[in-house]
C-alpha cells in the first residue's frame, strides 16, 4: 500500500531524514516512535506531500507520490492522491467557521460531488461511529479537545481514504481525554484500516500496532513487531530510549 525508499529530506542545512525505507501493507498498522526531533512527523508528512522530499521515492497504491511533474500538473496529481489519504493532526485543525457537520461534508460535496443529503447521512453515520452524533451542529469552539479530535477523524474518514495518517493526535489532549480518541483509533484498527501512527504513547502503540518503527536522528534505528521491539530491543539506542520513557 505504501512504500518508501531511500528518502532524504533537509530543512536548510539540517538533514532530518537520512535515507528512510519502509513498507506498509494493506490493513497493516504501523506505529512510528522515537524522541522529539527524530524526523517521525516529517516522515509522515512526506507521504501525502505536505513536505517535499530531496531524494528517494514514495509509492502509494501503485502510484509514485513524488513524480517529477511541474506546476499545475503536479498539484492535480498530489490532490488526487491526497483524497485517498486521511490525515489527523496534533492540533485538530478543524475549520472553526463550520459546524461538525460542515467540517465533515465539505470535502465530499466539493471534491466528489456527493449530494447534500447523502453527505449528511454519511456525516451522521461517521459521527455516530465516533460517538458525537449529538454534537452534529456544534462549532469546534463548543467542543472539548477529545471531541474535536474525534470530529477531525470523522472528517478524514468522510473521504473514504485507503490509508489514515495520525500525527501525534493525542499529544495536546488532557490525559483524561486521550482514552476516547484512542478508542476510536482502536475501532478503526479492528475494521482493518491501514494506519500510520506517529505517537509518544508507547503503551497504545504496543496495544494497537502490528509493526513498530523506532526512529532517531533521521534514521530508522530498529523495527519489528511490538512484542519484540518493546521487550527485546536489539539496538542500544532503542534500549536507552525505552528506559528513558518507562523510567
Amino acid at each position: 500500500m505504501i512504500q518508501v525508499a531511500d528518502l532524504h529530506k533537509a530543512f536548510g542545512a539540517v538533514e532530518v531524514l537520512k535515507g528512510i525505507d519502509l513498507t506498509v501493507e494493506r490493513g497493516q498498522i504501523l506505529a512510528i516512535i522515537g524522541p522529539s526531533g527524530s524526523g517521525k512527523s516529517t516522515l509522515l508528512r512526506t507521504i501525502n506531500h505536505l513536505e517535499s522530499v530531496d531524494r528517494g521515492e514514495i509509492w502509494f497504491d501503485g502510484m509514485l507520490v513524488n513524480q517529477p511533474l511541474r506546476g499545475r500538473r503536479f498539484e492535480r496529481h498530489v490532490n488526487r492522491i491526497r483524497q485517498h489519504i486521511g490525515m489527523v493532526f496534533q492540533h485538530f485543525n478543524l475549520f472553526p467557521h463550520m459546524t461538525a457537520l460542515e467540517n465533515i461534508t465539505m470535502a465530499p460535496m466539493l471534491l466528489k460531488k456527493t449530494p447534500r443529503r447523502e453527505a449528511r447521512e454519511l456525516a451522521e453515520s461517521l459521527l455516530r461511529k465516533v460517538g458525537l452524533l449529538d454534537r452534529i451542529d456544534y462549532y469546534p469552539a463548543q467542543l472539548s479537545g477529545g471531541q474535536k479530535q474525534r470530529v477531525a477523524i470523522a472528517r478524514a474518514l468522510a473521504m473514504e481514504p485507503k490509508v489514515m495518517l495520525f500525527d501525534e493526535v493525542t499529544s495536546s489532549l488532557d490525559p483524561e481525554l486521550v482514552g476516547e480518541v484512542n478508542k476510536v483509533m482502536k475501532q478503526l484498527a479492528q475494521e482493518h484500516m491501514t494506519m500510520l501512527i506517529v505517537t509518544h504513547e508507547l503503551r497504545f502503540a504496543a496495544d494497537v500496532a502490528d509493526h513498530v518503527l523506532f526512529m532517531a536522528d533521521g534514521v530508522v534505528v530498529e523495527e519489528g513487531p511490538p512484542a519484540q521491539l518493546f521487550r527485546a530491543p536489539a539496538q542500544e539506542r532503542t534500549k536507552t530510549f525505552l528506559q528513558e520513557v518507562f523510567k
Partner: protein, 216 residues
Amino acid sequence: MDVALIVRVSRFFAEAAWVTVEISVLALALGLCVGFAAALAKVSDRAVLSLPARVYVSVFRGTPALIQLFIIYFGGPQIGLQLEPFAAGVLGLGLNIGAYMTESIRGAIVAVERGQSEAARCLGLGHLQAMRKVILPQAARLMIRPLGVNSIALIKGSALVSAISVVELTYTAHRFISSTYRPFEMFMLSAAFYLLIISAASHLIRTLDARFALRT
C-alpha cells in the same frame, strides 16, 4: 461666525459631500478589487504573480497620493490617457488605497493558522479551493477592521482630488471662500460634513464586524 451664510451655502456643501461619498465608494470598490487580486498574487508561490504585486504595493505606498493623482490627471494625456477629473480621481485614489488594502488582506490571509490550509489540502482541496472554502472565510473576519481603517483614511484622503478640480467638499470650500472671504466658516462646514460621512462609515464597519464575529 456668520450663521446665515452657513445656512445659505450648506445646500451646495451637501451636494459636494455626495460627490465625496461617490468618489470614495467607487475608489473603495476599485481598491478592494485590486487589493484582493494583489493580495492573492502576493501569497502565491509563483514569482510571475507575486513579483508584480510586490512592485505595485511598494510603488503606490512609497510615493505621495497627490503625485499619483497628478501623474494620472496631468501626465495621463501625454501617454494617451485622457480622463475627466472625477474618473482620474477614482483611478488615483483607488490604486493608492488598493496598495494598502493589499497589505491588510494579505496580513489577514497569513494570520489564518497554517494548519488550516494543511488540513484543507490534506483532504485533497486545491490551492484556490482551500482559499475559497477555508482560508478566506476566516481571513474575512480578520480583515474587516483593517479594511475599515483604510476606508476611513480613503474618505479623508479624497480631499486630495480637489487639487485636480473635482468639485467635492474641499474644492467647494475653496470656491466659496473666494467669493465670501470666510475661510473659517467654509472649512468648518466642510469638516462637519466629513465628520458626518466618517461617523456613518465607522458605524457601518462596527456593524459588519459584529455581524461576522466568530460564533461560539
